[in-house]
Subunit: 478 residues, 2 copies
Amino acid sequence: MWQPDRHSRQPLYEQIAADLQRRISSGEFPPGSLFPSERKLAERLGVNRSTVVAAYDELRSIGLVESRTGSGTRVNEIRRGAMSLHAPNWSRYAEDGSFLPNLPYMRKIREAVARDSSLIDLASGELSADLAPSGEFAALLGDYRYDAYWGYDNPQGYMPLRQALVSYLDRHRGIRTTETSLMITSGSQQSLYLITQCLLSPGDAVAVEDPSYCYSLPMFQSAGLRPFRLPVGDRGINPEDVFALYKKHRIKMLFLNPNFQNPTGTVLVPERRKRLLEIASELGLPIVEDDPFSLTAFDRDVPAPLKAEDAGGSILYIGSFSKIAASGLRIGWMVAPRSVVERLADARLQMDFGLSVIPQQVAAEFIKSASFEPHLERLRKGLRLKRDLLIEALRERLPGLVAFDTPRGGLHLWCKLQREVHDGRLLDEALKRGLAYVPGSVYGSDSGFVRFTFARPQEGEIADGVARFAGALRKAIV
Amino acid sequence: MWQPDRHSRQPLYEQIAADLQRRISSGEFPPGSLFPSERKLAERLGVNRSTVVAAYDELRSIGLVESRTGSGTRVNEIRRGAMSLHAPNWSRYAEDGSFLPNLPYMRKIREAVARDSSLIDLASGELSADLAPSGEFAALLGDYRYDAYWGYDNPQGYMPLRQALVSYLDRHRGIRTTETSLMITSGSQQSLYLITQCLLSPGDAVAVEDPSYCYSLPMFQSAGLRPFRLPVGDRGINPEDVFALYKKHRIKMLFLNPNFQNPTGTVLVPERRKRLLEIASELGLPIVEDDPFSLTAFDRDVPAPLKAEDAGGSILYIGSFSKIAASGLRIGWMVAPRSVVERLADARLQMDFGLSVIPQQVAAEFIKSASFEPHLERLRKGLRLKRDLLIEALRERLPGLVAFDTPRGGLHLWCKLQREVHDGRLLDEALKRGLAYVPGSVYGSDSGFVRFTFARPQEGEIADGVARFAGALRKAIV
């Protein structure tokens, strides 16, 4: 009897659906005939019932079968001798596109988090519900009397939000800019996407931190870029390394996350920032400065962004609400020379035709509201408390097994494991115990590192999460 | 004296900014020195003052100059001998990316509409404010007590909206699907973008209607696709042409807008739909069915979508709220085999990380609300009235000069001019008179066609708009 191939890259449910489709075509299941029950077929193939459910769903979605509660799944009666029809070879279409699928570890983690709501999530790089300004947003929406026109917006973004961000950037980050040099995007993600798609070409060399959030983004590979590494030490990257990479590979852009770097939590020291700006100007090299975490600084002590000192016009500055308010708002921004902003705004017309006005209005009202500063204050306190709970639990549960620097801002803690482990095994053991975290290799590091996000779990979950991790670690030590 | 090159592809303001930057570097304008006033420099170079304003703004955005009200624009005092610094060559970066700029006609129209609010807009393919359900939306937002978590959403879209759309599609379009086979996108635009980027590769041949909305989208060229034409007659495209294109060019996908086609308003007749489905199944050829206008059918008489009869699973079905509710909501959807939806949802994580939850909640509430059906009824009546006003004005003001079929749904009227005209000249003359429309060549047709959108102007503006067009036409007749 046919069995799915467990080593194939094709998901099990797709293999099962394809096999059933062949059996329908061959006449084994004529129109109107009944399929085996999901439970029965799952047993026969030795797979989870949910896998068979997904396979039947796939066949339903292409109109081959129909399910009714109580009477099972039947092959459709189709006019026009449809049994000889065939659907497009969708899996070939999906494989041929230029977009690489997301990393397997990330997909596995995302699926586990989505499936099991009781899982303790130290993986998702976002705030927990109690840290988000949900009450403030609800109040703004409730008060808001929307009567303006709901038409297509300017592709650079809603003007009142751009105006609000100009004073926000001046006040909070010392960046002086104008509405015409600022563009609203769907989080930092879309800013990065627009930059890699519109300002770079396949084959271009770029420099990224090592480790870096960028490695978790197949985006760079999808755009055909060649990333070269800049090791991150406890004072950030070494600017002279940029020089060397430029000489050797003619890098065309540098991607940098200078404050509370993701994943290491490092802050790039001021003297290295100065030198970086000099090098960028000397080489005419653009730097993408990703700055999502600065406003979380627990002791409010954080260097000025490179953009604030950018006399040479080398910096594309990216910010976002995702890590300081709500990722579900999908509001980010980019500050860049006007010519760049206009180019990217034009290109985005081809992609999404701009963002919805509603979240942009909410964001603009929120920045200008009296509740913005108190929210930030509460956020910093809440994050600091969670960081301390995580560190306490790590010291208690894993003495001598982990090493880390204490982050002074951001959402993450970067841990080096002091024993040799198998990365994939450790993750599987943790997920089995209802704990998600991100293996360091996702960020391009060697194995033996993990990133814990303390912002996402509830305070009461942190110690339990670390205990589960300790259990998994014991199993995975080589 | 230096003068900008008016035949260059580089915008005038960029040329002027680059020249000024050279003068700063060369020491002609030392740090602290005053630039000429905007008015004076504009006179000297023979350009509009707004061009100089844009050039100064560009220099401000890269930190080279600073303006203060009353004291003009000065070269910045910069530390570290910054005068030898140079900014990245941004215009080269912008040109090198793989994205083509949008079409010059479209940019010109968009800029004119954005600049002059008194202009009569028969160009923008969207509803006027009075046709949009602004009151209904305001009521929904006002009532809505949002207290759920504002985190990252499922990349396939907000589940309650997907559920609402499953019954919407069943009720209104006879399409039976499931939440797992449906994905929420930022309007039809993002559905098309995901399909061209993720399911096709550079060099692939595709078939598109002629004329077609698709030609207004450099998206196809940006993705490196080779589009082949299917002429649209008064009964739609001829299915046998698809066969011929497949044999000759191995087309990999067909893009179709079967109901009230944009721009011609044509409805593809049912017997041709049947034949198309047969051909698609025989060839294993996917068809993208773009269906934004069906619910506008003025006499509620419109054929079922191909997707409703898609036994072979060949159809990727695209819908949107943009033409029946509000384009500014940015809500569209795609119905596709589950494997395709999962692939595209995964890819979109790299682009925008999903949509904001707020507009998705508004859309879900709106479809389920008691005000949805009455809104559609009001919309159909309003559109029909505007169509009649447009036709009346065309008959009165341009007798014998234009020929058209009366559209029975949609937002547009497609006109053939009965005299030879110069397309670009006609558009310039119309814009000069405060009227925007779209030249047919934007949709890939020969010159001598225009698309009028009757949905966008106020009822009272339509006759005046046609009068302005008549004035422009008299000037542009060859």
